[in-house]
Symmetry: C2
Subunit: 214 residues, 2 copies
Amino acid sequence: MEVKIMKNILGANKTLAEENRRYFKDKHITAVNVMASPGAGKTSVILKLIHSLKDEVNIGVIEGDIASSIDAEKIEKLGIAVIQVNTGGGCHLDANMIKASVESLCLKSDTLLFIENVGNLVCPSAFDLGEGIRMVVASVPEGHDKPFKYISMFEAADVIILNKVDLMPYMDFDRESFYKGVRALNDRAPVFEVSCRTGQGMDELVQWVRQACR
Amino acid sequence: MEVKIMKNILGANKTLAEENRRYFKDKHITAVNVMASPGAGKTSVILKLIHSLKDEVNIGVIEGDIASSIDAEKIEKLGIAVIQVNTGGGCHLDANMIKASVESLCLKSDTLLFIENVGNLVCPSAFDLGEGIRMVVASVPEGHDKPFKYISMFEAADVIILNKVDLMPYMDFDRESFYKGVRALNDRAPVFEVSCRTGQGMDELVQWVRQACR
């Protein structure tokens, strides 16, 4: 019974996600669904990418959080079109929230749209938003064993960012084990090691996103 | 409609949770539901507490993960009764899983039972397991803004641990803001600042858990 209900919800979401996907395609909008644990650095990655790309491409942001508008305020300060979605307890964004947000953002054609999902390494991976790119942000302090435990998230990723590499000297992070876990699930997503704090590795990531917008 | 379904699920869970709570009370079992983001240090905190308390009290552990038995293996090496619950995609433990696990663990009376929930700062807070203590582990690298975003988790906590304080010098963590967020939601839970890596602050936490078992 529970499985059926879940399937219905996912079925309805899928239909809306396909509508979003068509809309994004027609308007040449590159939608990036940014997913991660709480505090892995989703907002920091988005802010860094905005700084590097805002003079070459239109950018919009949908900020998903259970509560607060902390992250949307950070984005707004940069003069970027942003909308905050508060899920009010909900543990993920869904395609309907994206549809409503996109309408209210009035995005231009040729836009790079960041969708920052709720901080959660589990549920968001089950809900297609119609995005073109699924970006998963892992971070060094979370430990190297995360791909072994949060399988569907790493399986689903089109690009994986390993953030906070500046903390590597102070932690027992086994890089080899992390890559082993990732590659057992996903052999196509590039992995970028970055530090949003120091800027390390950001150039390569910016270049990848730039290519993805073309 | 969706709300009704959710209420039914939560209602059924609540009934089982009350059964667990009665069972724990009758057998004088102190059940601690350990909740946190992925990689905040739930297992490390449990391992540290086991090391300090295993000679004075019976200990059992239920390890919740979507997949893998990495954490249960770490516990088992210490000769502690442990059972791994793999939720197979599920984003939280529920009271029924705990009921089944407790039966199979055959716990003695006067036991300290750690229940390590799935790494998720959202969903686990909605599911009562029948525990006596809700322990929330936050960590410095996640940032000081988490209480403002993951409200129900910090509201529900009986004790809050701020782990990885050894990384404070390398991060922009605003301790005052963190406490402001916590205290806006919860004025009763003690907060322990610890580092599982260096052992800093563990004595006070061990003492608190020892008292809680009496």
